[in-house]
């Protein structure tokens, strides 16, 4: 019997496997097609204080190795989320912790949505890849100083386990990791999508109404492993790793690189069975290699 539960910065996850924000709706949409008993957490779609319509369509483009999306964080706002969505989730999905993925256009916006969450959810994940309207549209996650500021503000606003989700397009992840650590984050998650663009060459226009979007899926996995590896070397904070997990092997690479837990995202779209297959494969791997627990895999590269 392999011990599959892990602790992600205070969030007790019954298994090491989660779903990635934005790829699993508000958590109940896949009931019937996904085996929830294998999930240690569900991350809900990004939510902010006010409702938000998202981008115009087309919002996605299929590319070799994955998907480029610019959904644009459509959501009903935190009030509706707490009043309807969370109870609806709790009713349909028993025993799987819910992580709220939050965002805002200002530091105050982030703090406000975190504060309103109270303890209705089990953890908060901050998506810092959104433009900071007050600071001229630069994204919060791409300047360690700004990042530190927004994380501190959210830290003050919530007692829940606080996960900060980092952007991949940085020269080095280390200053961002340190900024999160200093600002009181309990865990990190990575990676968010990689900025990308697809052009319809016949119409000579960007495919996405939003012009650019984020690349996710199979192809980004080796880049994600590198960032998890770098982050793990730089911090003791536990890491929730995501980016192109399609097979058990992909999750095991993340764990060995230093992740405490792993999330499945884009793969669920083509195969909702991914959660089960990855869970079973990781457990079988632990058995085969004599690991008594999945958490023993974290950072367990033989190179030392």
């Amino acid at each position: 019997m392999v011990n599959v539960n892990v602790n992600l910065g205070g969030l007790e996850m019954p298994t090491f496997l989660a779903t990635a924000s934005g790829t699993f709706g508000y958590g109940f949409e896949y009931v019937g097609a996904v085996d929830y008993s294998k999930l240690g957490a569900v991350t809900a779609k990004g939510i902010r204080v006010e409702p938000w319509p998202g981008n115009e369509i087309p919002r996605h483009a299929e590319v070799p190795g994955g998907l480029v999306n610019a959904i644009g964080l459509q959501g009903t706002g935190v009030e509706h989320f707490l009043k309807y969505t969370v109870p609806w989730y709790r009713e349909q999905v028993k025993g799987v912790p819910l992580i709220a993925n939050i965002w805002g256009s200002s530091v105050e916006g982030y703090a406000e949505v975190a504060a309103q969450m109270g303890d209705a959810v089990d953890a908060v994940e901050m998506n810092v890849s959104c433009p900071n309207v007050k600071a001229g549209g630069h994204t919060f996650g791409q300047d360690p100083k700004v990042l530190s500021e927004v994380v501190s503000a959210v830290r003050k606003a919530t007692k829940l386990p606080l996960i900060v989700k980092l952007a991949p397009n940085v020269p080095s992840i280390v200053p961002y990791v340190k900024a999160c650590e200093d600002a009181g984050a309990d865990a990190l998650s990575m990676i968010n999508t990689i900025p990308a663009m697809v052009i319809d060459i016949e119409k000579r226009v960007p495919v996405l109404a939003n012009v650019t979007g984020g690349l996710s899926g199979r192809g980004i996995h080796p880049a994600a492993v590198k960032l998890v590896y770098d982050a793990h070397k730089a911090t003791k904070l536990p890491i929730l790793a995501m980016g192109g997990v399609y097979e058990p092997k992909d999750a095991i690479e993340f764990l060995l690189a230093g992740a405490t837990a792993v999330a499945v995202g884009t793969a669920t779209f083509s195969n909702p069975g991914t959660v089960s297959e990855v869970y079973d494969g990781v457990v079988a791997y632990c058995e085969r290699h004599g690991f008594a627990s999945v958490s023993a895999l974290t950072g367990a590269l033989a190179e030392g």
Binding site: G22, T23, F24, G25, E29, Y30, V31, G32, A33, K45, P53, G54, I57, P58, R59, H60, E62, P64, G65, G66, L67, N69, I71, Q74, G217, R218, G219, Y246, T266, A267, T268, F269, S270, N271, P272, G273
Partner: protein, 257 residues
């Protein structure tokens, strides 16, 4: 909703790039209603390729039947599937057509948009109604499943752009003739439509504000098919709705064009 491993029973060309495929899909077939769709993992595409959505043409006795047009790499890959192959099919998905009708049931389809109308006509007929089906296409070859409607004993009125079959013109021409006739009689009607956007808009306009109802099945590019990704947005009076879960069938009066 379930992700079912379905064995292919039959797969054949209908001519002009259209094909018919049927599966053993007892679980999906059991729960399906007309206007719902399935999300197919196309064998032969890379593991990360998205699924492709198709309307349920018919679901009967554990069988799932689809009609599709080959338009791109996904449908081209689907061509290679053979009887006996096993395909992952998720379904039934979305909200379909209502199965009651206050007045004449007028079904309008264009191209592969006729796909969900056969299943609908069959179930309406089973309730003792007499659906009337209008089908349109560029040419004769774009008029699908005429034999199936005939076998069902459902009247079909056709229009083709080139006049190669039925009336020459748009499918809304014979529809308008019927609407005028009905109006003359003071008859009530409901419209059920599926097809290309311009056709759907034309049909929707003929319902909104008339006191009659229109049920419009929208075709939006999809990712998850289950309401989880928010890719398949249709603007409605309630804001941005997901075609895969709030739709694909919307009330004509709710749509914002």
């Amino acid at each position: 909703m379930i992700d079912e491993k379905c064995k292919v029973i039959e797969h054949r060309e209908l001519g002009s790039g259209y094909r018919f495929i049927s599966f053993e899909a007892p679980k999906i077939a059991e729960g399906a209603t007309p206007g719902q769709f399935v999300h197919v993992r196309v064998p032969g595409l890379e593991a990360s390729a998205l699924r492709r959505p198709f309307s349920i043409f018919n679901a009967e006795e554990g069988r799932l039947e689809l009609l599709y047009k080959t338009v791109g790499r996904g449908t081209a890959a689907l061509n290679g599937v053979k009887p006996g192959d096993v395909v992952s099919v998720m379904g039934p998905l979305g909200h379909g057509f209502p199965l009651k009708c206050g007045g004449a049931a007028l079904l309008v389809g264009g191209g592969y948009g006729v796909a969900p109308l056969y299943f609908l006509a069959r179930l309406l007929k089973a309730q003792g109604l007499s659906p009337l089906v209008f089908v349109g296409g560029r040419t004769k070859d774009d008029l699908l499943a005429l034999d199936r409607f005939e076998a069902l004993g459902v009247e079909v009125r056709a229009a083709t752009n080139d006049g190669s079959f039925g009336a020459k013109g748009l499918v809304t021409d014979p529809l308008d003739d019927e609407l005028i006739r009905l109006r003359g009689e003071g008859g009530k009607f409901e419209l059920f439509a599926c097809g290309p956007d311009p056709m759907l808009k034309a049909v929707a306009l003929r319902a909104t504000g008339t006191g009659s109802k229109g049920w419009i099945s929208m075709d939006r590019h999809m990712v998850c098919g289950v309401g989880a990704c928010y890719a398949c947005i249709q603007k409605t009076v309630r804001g941005n709705s997901r075609c895969c879960i709030e739709g694909p069938v919307f009330a004509a009066e709710d749509l914002v064009w």
